[in-house]
């Protein structure tokens, strides 16, 4: 049938209809039902809103608004999509929401629904649907007209879209992400990806501090979710943010003086260290089903018990980390770090602090890119694994630098280069993961060796089976490295790296 018109408008659209001139068409708002409570459901990082949809739970069901058609299914507790009842809404969401992310109530308030029609001068209906007015209190109101054209009246739909778009109470129609942010009472820039503003001639010192400050905010936003143990992505995002902080400190060489750099590295490293074991266990548990599928049936009971062990260890680690994050020492330390980057006058500048950001960025990225190429070009099928690991680490550093400075070079251009790099990184990442996992499992087996537990032998046998499979997987990934790099090292990509990042005045190589 016809396309549906849904868009979000900050504020109550009902007051705007009178002022919209639709020519021979006019709005007709039916008497509304009584106001009912609603809950806005989404992942913490607003994956549903980012896809242009709002998931609204009311007493009469779970409604997914904003797609080609309004979908509904029976009410359900927010959870991982896979754990929720199957229906048209969850079916659609399964393709949108990461399986690692759980849904949660991100805003609540009262909902008014009214029948809405667009009629012509004969009072013939052209469009009909429902106006959803979601009020989360404190003036946080979002209107969502969900209108469908009757057969043959699609032109009226585009007309109304255009007219409402121009008017809408003087406010511009926003994206679902903005609507969601408004209801959540959050900054739309924050619920999605962290973005900072950077200018080419600002000082490298300022650029570094801005990035670190934004990443600290991003990290701190995850704390409640980690403590409440909503899903494993909170800890993951927390670590990503802190890793970015540490990357700035170590990669932006000379922006801070040596002593300051060492001090910051140590302090952020200490926080990060608290989280490592829990993240490792999370990763194992996420992979549980895949691992079980990888090994022959006879190893599965042992692997199952191994994962039960991991799950028990994870609970202990989570309790430890929660105690740490809840503790006074952590709060005091983070507050100090935040203050340090807010005020910045107590940060000791290094020799590069005054360089222009663009100049600095080009030098860093170009140097790192050439290093990646140099290492990679020396790799063949006989090169020791250490060099492959080194390549992985250099690629990661290059990626971080490109992401940090993307605002200076045009996001889209950088994005497409990152995409090319990412393919190589995926290959190297898998290679590394298989290698790290083998080592960790071996360690686990060694630790079990002296144990008198009755399941020891079964678990150790399972580990043996899994390690063999992982080893083979690692070899597979290793054999692809040369080809992956060759794909990344195309002449086109080389030319684009050169054009974007090569510092002026540097001799042709």
């Amino acid at each position: 049938m016809s396309e549906m018109l849904t868009f979000a408008s900050g504020g109550d659209l009902r007051t705007a209809f009178g002022g919209v001139d639709l020519g021979k068409l006019s709005f007709s708002l039916e008497e509304g039902d009584a106001t009912v409570p609603f809950a806005l459901l989404d992942t913490f990082d607003a994956q549903i809103a980012a896809a242009g949809l709002l998931l609204v739970q009311t007493g009469d069901g779970l409604h997914l608004l904003g797609g080609g058609a309004a979908l509904r299914q029976d009410c359900a507790e927010p959870d991982f999509i896979a754990n929720m009842p199957v229906g048209p809404v969850t079916k659609m969401l399964a393709g949108i929401v990461s399986p690692l992310r759980t849904l949660m109530t991100v805003a609540e308030g009262s909902l008014a629904r009214q029948g809405l029609r667009v009629l012509d001068d004969y009072q013939k209906t052209h469009l009909r649907g429902t106006l959803w007015v979601l009020d989360a209190g404190k003036g946080r109101v979002v209107s969502l007209p969900a209108l469908t054209a009757l057969r043959g009246y699609d032109k009226s739909l585009s007309k109304v879209t255009a007219k409402l778009g121009a008017k809408a109470d003087g406010r511009k129609l926003g994206s679902m992400l903005e609507a969601s942010a408004l209801l959540r009472g959050e900054d739309p820039a924050l619920i999605g990806k962290t973005r900072i503003v950077m200018t080419p001639d600002e000082k490298a010192f300022k650029a570094a501090n801005d990035i670190i400050r934004a990443q600290l905010v991003a990290a701190r936003r995850q704390e409640d979710g980690i403590i409440a143990d909503i899903d494993s992505e909170f800890l993951h995002e927390y670590r990503v943010a802190l890793r970015r902080v540490r990357s700035v400190i170590s990669l932006f060489k000379g922006v801070y003086d040596d002593k300051q750099t060492a001090d910051l590295k140590a302090r952020f490293g200490a926080i990060m260290a608290r989280t490592g074991r829990l993240r490792d266990l999370d990763v194992y548990l996420i992979e549980r089903d895949r691992y079980l599928a990888l090994v022959p049936a006879r190893f599965r009971p042992g692997i199952g018990k191994l994962f039960d062990m991991f799950a028990a260890q994870r609970d202990v680690e989570h309790a430890k980390l929660t105690a740490y994050l809840d503790g006074k020492a952590y709060e005091k330390e983070v507050a100090k770090l935040e203050k340090l980057f807010d005020k910045t006058r107590h940060l000791s500048k290094g020799p590069e602090a005054g360089r222009h950001a663009l100049d600095f960025a080009k030098a860093l990225i170009w140097k790192r890119y050439r290093k990646v190429c140099k290492i990679a070009r020396a790799i063949d099928d006989t090169t020791p694994d250490e060099q492959v690991h080194e390549l992985r680490i250099e690629c990661k550093k290059l990626r971080y630098l490109m992401e940090f400075f993307a605002p200076l070079f045009g996001d889209n251009e950088v994005k497409s280069l990152i995409k090319a790099l990412k393919k190589l990184q995926d290959n190297l990442g898998n290679f590394n993961d298989y290698s790290v996992q083998q080592a960790a499992l071996q360690e686990q087996a060694d630790a079990l060796a002296g144990s008198a537990e009755p399941d020891t032998v079964e678990i150790a046998t399972g580990i043996g089976g899994l390690v063999t499979v992982l080893h083979n997987k690692q070899l597979e990934e290793r054999s692809r490295v040369t080809a992956s790099f060759a794909a990344f090292d195309s002449e086109d990509t080389q030319a684009r790296f050169r054009a974007l990042f090569k510092p002026e005045g540097e001799a042709k190589k």
């Binding site: 012509d120 004969y122 009072q123 013939k124 054209a149 009757l150 057969r151 043959g152 009246y153």
Partner: protein, 247 residues
């Protein structure tokens, strides 16, 4: 899909009003209905507030699937679409047979735009022409409103004779009494006489006369939408039921 023609070779028998109310009644009962407004004088589309489409005057119209499907308009009621008036009717029979053929491009095109109708109701012009002859051939049933008067009885007789002469299947004809006034002796006598003579060619239902039906032009809507408990509405509902049984 069934094609039902609403036809009368006599004017002023409430043909268009019947087509509108039957289309509405069928849709209400869950049938997916397309009402085709073929009668430039009746303008059943008018009762659904659908503006006639200028595009439809083109002769190529019925051979062009896209033009056809894009001319269809949704009514304000579920399950009921309208093909507005103002067209020439050459090739209409070809068009109808394509609509019935499940392998035809037209049928597939209709399906693809979610217009796989259960009933296509044709509001036909009130003369016997090439068009009506073609319609008689393609239709599964021909609904003929009959006011129980001597004159109407004669035109009904003429229609049956026409079918006979042209080798058309008479059993497609389903007459029904329309605008019946129970207090009129002539009406009840004519009904009794005709039932005896024409048997199965007449539906059991008799739709009573109602001033509400005449007000349809003011409301520009089927009578059932503004006078729900009217006797004529009940008559049309019964008629829909009987029609579906006979199809």
């Amino acid at each position: 899909m069934k094609i039902v023609a609403c036809y009368s070779n006599k004017g002023g028998v409430g043909k268009t009003a019947s087509a509108v109310n039957i289309a509405y009644g069928l849709a209400k009962s869950g049938q997916r209905v397309l009402l085709c407004d073929l009668d430039p004088q009746g303008a059943s589309g008018f009762y659904f507030r659908v503006k006639p489409s200028k595009k439809l005057t083109d002769e190529r119209f019925f051979t062009d699937v896209k033009r056809f499907t894009s001319a269809i308009r949704g009514s304000d009621f579920d399950n009921l679409d309208i093909l507005p008036a103002n067209m020439t009717f050459r090739d209409f029979d070809v068009f109808l047979s394509r609509m019935k053929n499940s392998r035809s491009r037209l049928k597939k095109a209709l399906k693809s735009v979610d217009s796989d109708y259960d009933v296509v109701l044709l509001d036909c012009p009130p003369n016997i022409s090439t068009l009506s002859e073609n319609v008689f051939k393609s239709a599964d049933a021909i609904l003929v409103p009959v006011i129980p008067t001597t004159l109407s009885e004669r035109t009904f007789e003429q229609l049956l004779a026409f079918f006979e002469e042209n080798g058309l299947p008479k059993k497609k004809i389903l007459g029904f009494f329309s605008m019946v006034q129970g207090t009129k002796k002539l009406h009840s006598e004519t009904i009794a006489g005709m039932r005896k003579q024409y048997g199965k060619r007449l539906l059991d239902v008799a739709v009573p006369f109602s001033s509400e039906v005449e007000k349809m032009g003011v409301h520009r809507a089927p009578v059932g939408t503004f006078a729900r408990n009217n006797a004529a509405v009940k008559g049309y509902d019964l008629l829909c039921k009987e029609l579906l049984e006979r199809l």
